[in-house]
């Protein structure tokens, strides 16, 4: 997939989101664009159409997820945007765990499902996606420039 997604391609992404996170009709009200590194961005139809008049367009809309081998990991904004729709693979963190998460530290959480990705939240605040490692640890997928402390772990640059 590349560029502006067709309705059929959107459906495929929606299926992935439904299977992994229980999100229904996630992209219904948006146009979706797949840009470099399989990143999915969303915006509104009129915004996309307006962009056709412009020269030097760098980016359109909001980066919400990354596609990887028939799986999808949500960005921090993706989890926040779909916060009311996410039904499964959620881990609830304490404030201390949330702070660790934002520092990029791995967490050990009991009874995590066997999904490869989980969504973390503290209270009603969504914190992005973590990758569940074979070692049972959860690796927060926080971009380097959004870690609250540097040099703790080389976070995967989303």
């Amino acid at each position: 997939m590349k560029g502006v997604l067709t309705e059929e391609e959107k459906k495929k992404v929606e299926e992935l989101l439904e299977n992994q996170y229980g999100i229904s009709n996630a992209l219904k009200n948006y146009v979706a664009i797949v840009s470099g590194e399989n990143r999915i961005r969303i915006t509104h139809k009129d915004v996309l159409e307006f962009s056709w008049k412009l020269k030097g367009v760098v980016n359109i809309g909001l980066y919400i997820a990354k596609l990887a081998e028939n799986e999808v990991s949500l960005s921090i904004e993706g989890t926040q945007l779909f916060s009311g729709l996410i039904r499964k693979n959620i881990i609830n963190l304490t404030i201390d765990e949330a702070e660790k998460w934002m520092r990029g530290e791995t967490l050990r959480i009991e009874n995590v499902s066997n999904s490869r990705y989980v969504v973390a939240k503290f209270d009603d605040i969504f914190l992005g996606t973590g990758r569940v490692g074979k070692d049972g640890l959860i690796y927060p997928q926080i971009p380097k420039n959004r870690l609250t402390a540097q040099n703790l772990r080389s976070a995967e640059n989303l």
Binding site: T43, L54, G56, G61, E77, E99, I142
Partner: protein
Amino acid sequence: MSACTWSGQSGINPSDDLLDFLRRLPDMDIDAYLEAASKPLPECFRINTLKLPEERVKNLLKDRGWSFVKIPWARFGYKLMSGPESGLGRSMEHMLGLIYVQGPVSMLPAEVLEPKPGTAVLDLCASPGSKSTQLAQLMNNEGILVCNDISATRIKPLVANLQRCGVINVIIVQSDGRLFRNWCKEQFDNVLVDAPCSSLGILSKDWSAANRYSEKLSRRISRLQQSLLISAYDCLKPGGLLVYSTCTIHPLENEWVVTHLLDERSDAKLLPVSGNGLKSRKPLEEWAGVKFSSEIKNCFKCYPHDNDAEGFFIAKIKKEM
């Protein structure tokens, strides 16, 4: 007087060029200006309601040990009073996009422009995105927000900040703002030109601007600002509103630039700008033998020592139908 012999109380040494300029401003108290430049700006932030309701974020911040007071001139703006030592800029709230750390007076231009949800808005000189993210918030992520910057280096923080704040309705463009009118004539309801400037209103943040200053530099920037403002104005729909702002106190980059637009475009009218509680002063009617438009009195101007914050100039311009 040379830089070394300046006998002010601030403990900082301005260049001869800067001192000469300050002395030629009729309403300038040099000691007060340099004193303000020697102090850090108050730490302020805006709650980003695109992420969570304002009350929810306020409660979260309070629970986590921050105390703050409302800024009267910005709907979601707050001044930090105390909090954890690590600072707001490295806090979880900042990294999650729940807040945006921003200078207090810097919040005023977007408030003056007051874009409505569903409209088409252009931020011509957008990086690093403080005002762009504020515009998106006021638009409630509805409508079209075009954020432009000429520099590839400056596009990166713009992209990062718009992402962090959860802006969906945005198009980020890297182009020369002076050319924008060639492909976007009369396309926007609102335009913000937060122009590149000599930064003499934010020396407390960046003293190097004082060392860089020369009259020649201001004249060169002024010509660029004039071209940017004309281009931005031509992108406005008839009946549309434009805000021109700088963080400098130089009349060549402020009053003169706006006067040039009024001379060049007969349908441009200046509307009054209210500081909503910010202390302000009258723009100059003339400077260095140049007479400015009689409408210039409608603009907002403040020096850094007026509010112990940034010095700013803001013009609100309407394109008549």
